[in-house]
Amino acid sequence: MTTPHVTGAATAADEDAAEGRVYDVAGEDWDKIITAGDEDRSDNEQIVVNMGPQHPSTHGVLRLVLTLEGETVTDVRASIGYLHTGIEKNMEYRTWTQGTTFITRADYLMPLYNEMAYVLSTERLLGIEDKIPERAQLIRVLLLELQRITSHLGGIGPFGMELGATTIFLHGLRMREEILDLFELITGLRMNHAFIRPGGVAQDLPPGGLEKVREFLRKAPSRVRDLRKLIDANPVFSARTKGVAYMDLEGCMALGVTGPMLRATGLPWDLRKSRPYLGYETFDFDVITESSCDTYGRYMVRVREIEESLKIVEQAVDRLADRSGVKDDPWMVSDAKIGWPARLSLGPDGMGPSPEHIAHIMGQSMEALIHHFKLVTEGFRVPAGQAYVPIESPKGELACHVVSDGGTRPYRAHLRDPSFHHMQAVSVLCEGGNLADVIPAIASIDPVIGGVDR
């Protein structure tokens, strides 16, 4: 059967049409389309709508192809790849240390988690997992849990705006901004830190850093309380989220969904508890679960996890404060073949290698200069093999599959990003529902396209 085809200005491929009448809108031809539509009214009211890739509520450049019957969504297809930047390919041409600079840019709302996943796998291949200094592990936990709060706030705040509540957005972003200020103080950057490196972290906490974190911890509970007051019992928010995008445990298992979506079905699966890394088993916190399996439950899991993360941050700060008396407490592995030789310090022209280190390699020790040069230009070699260390990111199981051929560069690094994996659940969450419920459904996954496309 040949399909009737109405074209405006542009030509179109008739073969694309499976059945029914197809309207191609090419600009400046709206009148023609309307007339054609009026002439040819049939029972088939199916409309295919492209949402994105520039829609502001699609968390980046995500494109959804929705098939609608009236207001009901009958078919959803997610189309991704608009933000593919070749991070994994690029990493194969840099040293292992430089890899953190690339991978941190994958999911830009949780850059430290990307670094951590990559670094943990690399350290496993290097065989230095149990040689990482305690101080480095504590700084990592401190930063990761702060990052979890920012990531959840980056999910909740814009979600509020997507539903039309700018106050929620501003409250979320205000608290997130306070944490980003802490990151700027500690790592030098608000995002894309490249701070967690194989062997430890790039530098120690700055003077007064812990006090700044404490200051934040003092006002954080009231910030969260304000946010919860705005959302928890909000009738509009409840109406838009309760029972929306329902997915129970069975659905999560079939699709391999992890993170807050899985915990909203009542299963307390958290890799920090079940497969502890970075010494998480020594911290006191609860795994948050809800049993409603819907968008509201996922929100509740996230917002309550913020409170749990604050507890962990507090413990990490206390332990770091306890260690302040330890002399020469290292934050990088002591193995000189792996640990970055230069210590950073603030000079008159910005952050750079410390003057003592420069004086040492330029004026005192030829060997130190050679060593510095070799490690910085060539990098260290990682024994051949492959490793995969899953960690509990704010969005679910995150891991980096790294393969080494024994060289100074990753032979292959593949980020298993939870957003990428969970975007497969979009059809299950949206089909059969209302068009307006697509927005909360996507937001309840909390995808970030930087991580989906990498």
Binding site: R124, S274, T377, P390, G407, R416
Partner: protein, 242 residues
């Protein structure tokens, strides 16, 4: 990371002289100390030849829960009419991680047992990652699967290989629906055709893209950049030490 299964143990199999000959037959993977070419070599190591190591495999006991997984999988496969040794080429335990090298014709069967057998129950499919080893003739392309069992709190890695001349691996979407996008991505980046996949199309690259960018024979691209009077070559043309 190796080409052939370990040499069978004959009566002379473990003699050092024989092992030495075998080592010399292995292909050369690197020459010189730094792998630098085109510049004068003053290190004296220019004639050094590094050969690929023999394929590593682990013998029982594997330690930890790895033996339980292997036993349960063996039992499950036998009841399905096949056996552990028929489906799994070799087993490697390294860095506290268990890797099963599965023959591609047995992959779906193994995956099905891993998901459904009560002693295995690997519910969470964590993804497929492709790897390309252009020098390892006959097994250039690898698909690496990671599975998680929530019931038993275990992790497992499966590795399947396919030659470049016949880049086909059966799709596991019939067992794990979540493999859908991961297999599309691996096809997109490596050109591994997952037979039986419902819609094996490009996912990250544009639909009309030619080639598979993550393969090692696909160039990174880039242009030289001029900076303060000197030209910095693109990353894949800079000196490498690997």
């Amino acid at each position: 990371m190796s080409q052939e299964p370990p040499a069978p143990e004959t009566e002379n199999g473990n003699l050092p002289a024989k092992l030495g000959t075998e080592r010399l037959e292995a292909p050369v993977v690197r020459e010189g100390l730094f792998g630098v070419h085109g510049t004068p070599d003053t290190s004296g190591y220019g004639r050094l030849q590094v050969r690929r190591p023999l394929p590593a495999s682990t013998q029982r006991p594997y330690g930890g829960y790895f033996d339980d997984v292997a036993d349960a999988l063996g039992t499950a496969l036998e009841s399905a009419g096949s056996g552990f040794d028929a489906a799994v080429e070799r087993v490697l335990v390294a860095h506290d991680e268990l890797t099963l090298y599965v023959r591609r014709e047995n992959l779906v069967q193994v995956m099905e047992r891993l998901l459904h057998d009560p002693d295995l129950r690997f519910e969470i499919f964590s993804g497929v990652s492709g790897v390309h080893f252009p020098d390892e003739t006959g097994r250039e392309l690898r698909a690496v699967y990671h599975l998680t069992s929530i019931t038993h709190n275990r992790l497992l890695r499966l590795e399947v290989s396919a030659p470049d001349s016949d880049p086909h691996i059966p799709s596991v979407t019939s067992v794990y629906p979540a493999a859908n996008w991961h297999e599309r991505e691996t096809w997109d980046f490596f050109g591994i055709v997952f037979d039986g996949h419902p819609a094996l199309t490009r996912i990250q690259m544009p639909d009309d893209w030619l080639g598979h960018p993550q393969r090692k024979d696909y160039p990174l691209g880039g242009i030289p950049v001029e900076y303060r009077g000197t030209k910095v070559p693109p990353p894949d043309e800079r000196r490498s030490y690997s």
